[in-house]
């Protein structure tokens, strides 16, 4: 059914158009895989993203965490020009690598605030294999490293027309926003409601957009567009950008990034610090008491008085 619709709906003029500029066509294929040691939530996130990206290919878990350059070969093997790699550490921290093999840049990011589709209970839903609209915050254009990251997002999350498992309609949007030095990612379903009128009105009213979701109903059957969140939700903190794919010199490093290990150890150390302070205070108190001559042993002795009777009549 879908295939038939696709075949029928494909405009013929576009075919030749695409052939003309074949070299500039957006061809992307993404290899999605994780390292060993992912938790179930990480795995669910991976599955969610896989279902949202019809141009992706899922691979078995990668055995190694050090020899990541193997991913380049793997990507070549599967004809992929993007790698989306989830690296789990300590069974709790998730790092995301986005790379453009064979010689594109690599971005390593830390993934936080992860909520998978399964646990979010959002009512939004979309076709499996429909192409998303990517919405970027213009902060992405402000700095070169963010521009690189944006480009990578565009390649990984933007579904090209060439992918095979495609559905012809557009019913969801992915939002990428930079806030607080982090990248927040959301996925919404596009919900169109036509107040009363038929479908043919939609095309005529398409030019007059800017209708608020809760605004007054359009006079001539204007379509109200509203969004319903689908999930998943997560936040990425860029850490490092490498010049080549899983290797090469580091061309960007985030100063503000604090590794979760550091955070945990700080917490632990703060606790230990409290103990240190307490024990030091106790020690000081003991010494002070000794100095005052309040303890039976230790502490400072009073200097011998030369006029003491014991000295005088020794």
């Amino acid at each position: 059914m879908a295939a038939v619709y696709k075949a029928l709906s494909k405009p013929t003029t576009r075919e030749s158009d695409a052939k003309n500029k074949d070299e500039v066509r957006n061809r992307q294929r993404v290899l999605i895989l994780s390292s060993r040691g992912v938790t179930y939530r990480h795995r669910h996130l991976l599955n969610d993203l896989y279902s949202l990206l019809p141009h992706s290919r899922k691979e078995a878990k990668l055995d190694t965490k050090t020899k990541l350059y193997q991913l380049n070969e793997l990507a070549e093997l599967y004809n992929c020009n993007n790698v989306f790699f989830f690296e789990a550490r300590k069974g709790k921290d998730l790092y995301v690598w986005m790379s453009k093999p064979p010689n594109g840049p690599t971005v390593k990011m830390h993934l936080q605030n992860l909520h998978t589709m399964d646990e979010l209970h959002f009512t939004g839903n979309c076709l499996k294999g429909s192409r998303p609209i990517l919405s970027f915050d213009s902060t992405f254009d402000s700095e070169p490293h963010l521009r690189v990251i944006k480009e990578l997002f565009l390649h990984v999350f933007g579904v090209p027309k060439s992918s095979k498992k495609l559905k012809p309609f557009i019913d969801h949007v992915m939002g990428f926003t930079v806030a607080n030095g982090k990248i927040w990612i959301r996925c919404y379903q596009i919900n169109e409601t036509e107040p009363g009128k038929g479908k043919e009105n939609e095309d005529t009213s398409a030019g007059a957009n800017g209708v608020e979701p809760g605004a007054k109903k359009g006079k001539h059957g204007e379509t109200n567009v509203s969004l319903i969140e689908i999930g998943p939700r997560f936040v990425l903190t860029p850490i490092v950008i490498q010049e080549s794919s899983f290797g090469g010199p580091i061309i960007y490093e985030n100063k503000e990034f604090v590794s979760p290990n550091q955070v945990r150890s700080d917490l632990r150390r703060a606790k230990a610090g409290r103990f240190n302070k307490r024990s030091e205070a106790a020690q000081e108190g003991k010494i002070r008491r000794g100095d005052l001559g309040l303890t039976s042993e230790g502490g400072r002795r009073n200097p011998k008085d030369p006029l003491d009777s014991q000295v005088l009549f020794a």
């Binding site: 609209i133 915050d137 213009s138 490293h145 565009l154 398409a206 800017g210 969004l227 090469g248 030091e280």
Partner: protein
């Protein structure tokens, strides 16, 4: 750097500078830079000037670094030992904190390399038709004043996406790309029916629980109101009961006073016929009314009767007498309890028998009083 005379070598000797190591280090750095430069040259042409500048800058920095760090065999290790990360400071308890210098991580932000990398992979989004990439960037950056404020943050994200959708919709319509899904088009969805069922169930459950809570609250309010009514009724009943009881008790008291009155009359030898006439003449209810309304006068009468009785020469009751004797009523109280010749010579109470009696005798006598519960039962 030209060395001037003997001063420089002397200074170096004094500082214990390791020339060999420095030279090696410099060579290493130069090699690294050459490699980097080559990589950049391959990718970029027009930005060579900028790279050159940055390189020069870096060179200057390197020299400075070398000069600063002279005299140390193992620079990096020493660095690590010297600097203490900011986060470690909290664990240092005493005032030594002031002397420590926290180090910050070095930031790498090689703009030229980043731009060249971007150029290598960038899609020509401006020349491609919109339907190829479907990406929309907001005209102005999304500002979120407080990142912790969940509602406003999500609203900002929502607005951003919504605006993008509206723009994209017009663009796609212009290009003739099918946008909205017809209602009769069914295909596999991202979330399975089972998943959506779960979501729906959750929603239904939430709604049901909300409804149940509202219902429960209503019931509670009703109950509370019902209770108030009941309490009011009970109070009303109590009041009525109290009133009747009061009436009865006042009645009782009035009859008592009446009896006392009679006694007094007889005791003072009033003419029998007059009192009898009084008794017969007065209406019973009238007397009650007087007693009810004026308890003070009744008490006054009572007191007067007692005084009369005492004046007549009658002794007060034996209990009062005893107490007067014990605690004193009139007369000097001082030295009354002290012994004198007579009392000490008085041997009436002396008995050898009593002296030999066991100590607990008194206690035994006291034990004759039953326990509290028994007493309570007896009452």
């Amino acid at each position: 750097m030209a060395k001037s005379g003997k001063l420089r070598p002397a200074l170096d000797r004094l500082q214990g500078r390791n020339f060999k190591l420095e030279k090696q280090r410099k060579l290493e750095k130069a090699a690294g830079k050459r490699k980097k430069g080559k990589a950049q040259e391959v990718t970029e042409d027009d930005e060579a000037e900028g790279a050159l500048e940055t390189e020069m800058l870096e060179n200057v920095e390197d020299e400075e670094q070398v000069e600063v760090e002279d005299g140390e065999d193992d620079n990096e290790d020493a660095d690590e030992e010297e600097d203490i990360p900011l986060s470690d400071l909290s664990s240092v308890a005493s005032e030594e904190k002031g002397d420590l210098i926290p180090h910050q991580r070095l930031t790498i932000n090689n703009t030229t390399a980043l731009l060249s990398a971007l150029k290598r992979i960038a899609l020509p989004t401006s020349s491609l038709p919109f339907s190829e990439h479907q990406s929309i960037t907001t005209t102005e950056p999304v500002s979120i004043p407080d990142i912790e404020d969940d509602l406003n943050r999500e609203l900002a994200f929502y607005q951003q996406s919504l605006n993008a959708v509206k723009d994209a919709r017009t663009l796609l319509k212009k290009e003739g790309v099918p946008f909205s899904r017809p209602t009769d088009y069914f295909a596999e969805m991202v979330k399975s029916d089972e998943h959506m069922g779960r979501v729906k169930k959750k929603l239904v459950d939430a709604a049901a629980s909300k409804k149940a809570a509202a219902e429960a609250r209503k019931q509670r309010d009703l109950k509370k109101f019902g209770k108030a009514v009941q309490v009011e009724k009970q109070r009303e009943r109590d009041r009525a009961k109290r009133e009747t009881m009061e009436k009865i008790s006042s009645l009782k008291r009035s009859t008592c006073i009446w009896n006392l009155w009679l006694c007094w009359i007889y005791a003072n030898d009033y003419s029998a016929e007059r009192s009898g006439a009084d008794l017969t003449n007065t209406n019973e209810e009238d007397i009650f009314d007087v007693a009810l309304e004026d308890a003070a006068t009744a008490e006054k009468a009572d007191k007067a009767a007692r005084r009369q009785k005492r004046d007549a020469g009658g002794k007060p009751n034996p209990k009062r007498q005893k107490r007067d004797e014990k605690y004193g009523f009139g007369g000097k109280k001082r030295h009354k309890k002290s012994g004198d010749a007579i009392s000490s010579a008085d041997m009436r109470d002396f008995s050898t028998k009593k002296m030999k009696a066991p100590f607990g005798g008194g206690a035994k006598a006291g034990a004759k009083r039953p326990g509290k519960s028994k007493r309570a039962k007896m009452r």
